[in-house]
Amino acid sequence: MNHWIIAPVVLPALLAPVIAFVMRHDITLQRAASLAGAVMLTAIAAGLFMLSADGSVHVYRLGAWPAPFGIVLVLDRLSALLILLTSVLGLIVLMHSAASGWDTRGRHFHALMQFQLMGICGAFLTGDAFNLFVLFEILLIASYGLAIHSGGKARLKSGLQYVIMNLAGSSLFLIALGTLYATTGTLNIADLSVKVREIPVEEAALVRVAAMLLMIVFAVKAAMFPVQFWLPGTYANAPAPVAALFAIMTKVGAYAILRMHTVVFGPDAAAIGTLSQDWLLPAALITVAIGGFGVLGSRRLMPLIAFAVLGSTGTLMLAVSAFTPYAATAALYYLLHSTMATAALFLVADLLLSRRQSGDLLKAAPATVQNGFLAALFFAAAIGIAGMPPLSGFLGKLLVLDALRVSDYTWLVWTVVLVGSLLTIVGFARAGSLLFWKSTSAEFVAPVLAPEDDEAQPPANTIGPMLAAPSLLALASLAGLTIFAGPVARHMEATAAQLFDPSAYVTAVLVDQEGTKDPSSKKSYDDETEGAAYGEAGAEDGAGDDTEPGTASEEGH
């Protein structure tokens, strides 16, 4: 058993309390520890990525308990990829927070950040549905703190909405897990994969309910129609570096759908069939449309970016909704791109807004220092998120459109995605010209604000290399994704192939169990007699209903 698999969870979990309790009075120390932690996390994630790149599935059994009884962490291509993405994004965001001083505007920023990374990495790694719920709660509780970091009226209000929305979502998650457990008698993802496929179509009602409830829960995280309402307010009001980190949060929802609705509720399971696809496709289409119109209708920069995030989430979910290996390849490529593009855009927006006097209202205002440099950064990030060439968004959208070419609704999907992209481009072009070009136009600057403008900018406000580096890194990763599109896409293809053939996953978790504790070693563990005893009890109480009592008792020990 490779103990490095649990390192992405343990490292931030140990580091965060040390930062919170020991280093709380020294921001320099906090920064150093937090950044060092992020660098180590990235190194570990890169190592795990190499480990999983050959297609092997690595299982970490907590406490060495055998699979359906103990909790497992599973490292395959998909989870390794997403942990690597998370750690790189975390590093970029931490660099920006330290350079811009965001981490000094409220307490415990770095500790919350580490807890957030712990929750996200754990959610990507876990192979147990209830454990997924627990790790979701960890990442959410850290995100509540981060979303209201440094306070302010609007931020607290939108933070409250975000918390309420997610608490309701968590309740729904538990209901879904309860239903799933009542039907299948297990919560281990690999075991669920086997059990759900054994359910005949006539008895599928409950498991279909569980699948749809889980989809709604993950849709809340991914911000899909009809539960996307929390996203624009939260992202627009959260501190910009936090919003940049939240770029991965919607992807956690997308990942969960990708994992649960292929490995467990895959289209090949008779009880589920095309159920997930039928609901996901229209919801994703409407999400793309809402994103497009939102971008066009926003009067402030931060909501505009938030709606662009919504649009890209919709596009990503469209690709997921096809549930074919090729579409999943496109989805994964687009996922990498969209995370980095969103982060870049939020970081650039932060650089810009902290230098503008008029906040983030989209109106002409005096030009900021280094107007041209900021405009160039914004331009690059905007073409990234809108999906224009030459950056990877174009390739990503192209892959998504191509993957959806085989469905019955090709014309509808293409129309919505292309019109959505057009609306995004128009919205960003308008925002960019208002923010950067209008502010330098002679007619605007000359009469009112020009004299003041020249003196108002203290030289300290310029963007140094330390401050520009994180945004540039994020943009460079987009360029990297474009240049190395071939190798990246090939790796995504292998990842998707692994995802759609869960047999290796199931075998690794349930079959290859050498070196685990033997639950039957002590006494009286015997599947058949226990199962029979339980069955009798169930019959006596009139409580055991249509599911096989044996499976329920099996999990119980």
């Binding site: 709660e137 302010g152 607290l156 933070g159 909405q161 309740s171 627009a236 005893a533 009890a537 008792s553």
Partner: protein
């Protein structure tokens, strides 16, 4: 017994959903609390209802009840407790900061001293 448990879950959920849809933070918090109670009872019941049988291995026992939902519900109770505490604090912070406890958002431009 099934009927009692089922109607209790249904009643708690209905009351919870109604309260969550209110405009003010206090009823919403109460609603979420009721909803988590309903969820906890529901999760508890997913192992089937059984009376007077032990959940742990016991030589004298002739039958067992499923212990896993009991463990799950403990976790769920602890988490919902913590989450409710966080929610109350954030709601309190928002109410003190803005002077009202409404849940809805009004459009305010960013950048008044806090960006």
């Amino acid at each position: 017994m099934e009927l009692v448990v089922a109607t209790t879950i249904g009643g708690l959920t209905a009351a919870g959903v109604y309260l969550i849809l209110r405009l003010r933070a206090f009823p919403v918090i109460l609603g979420l609390t009721l909803l988590t109670y309903a969820v906890n009872v529901f999760v508890f019941a997913t192992g089937r209802l059984a009376v007077g049988v032990p959940p742990v291995l016991n030589d004298a026992a002739s039958a067992y009840t499923d212990p896993l939902p009991q463990a799950l519900v403990l976790t769920a109770i602890v988490i919902s407790f913590g989450m409710t505490a966080v929610l109350v604090l954030i709601a309190l912070g928002a109410a003190l900061e803005t002077g009202d406890d409404k849940v809805d958002l009004t459009e305010t431009p960013r950048g008044e001293g806090d960006t």
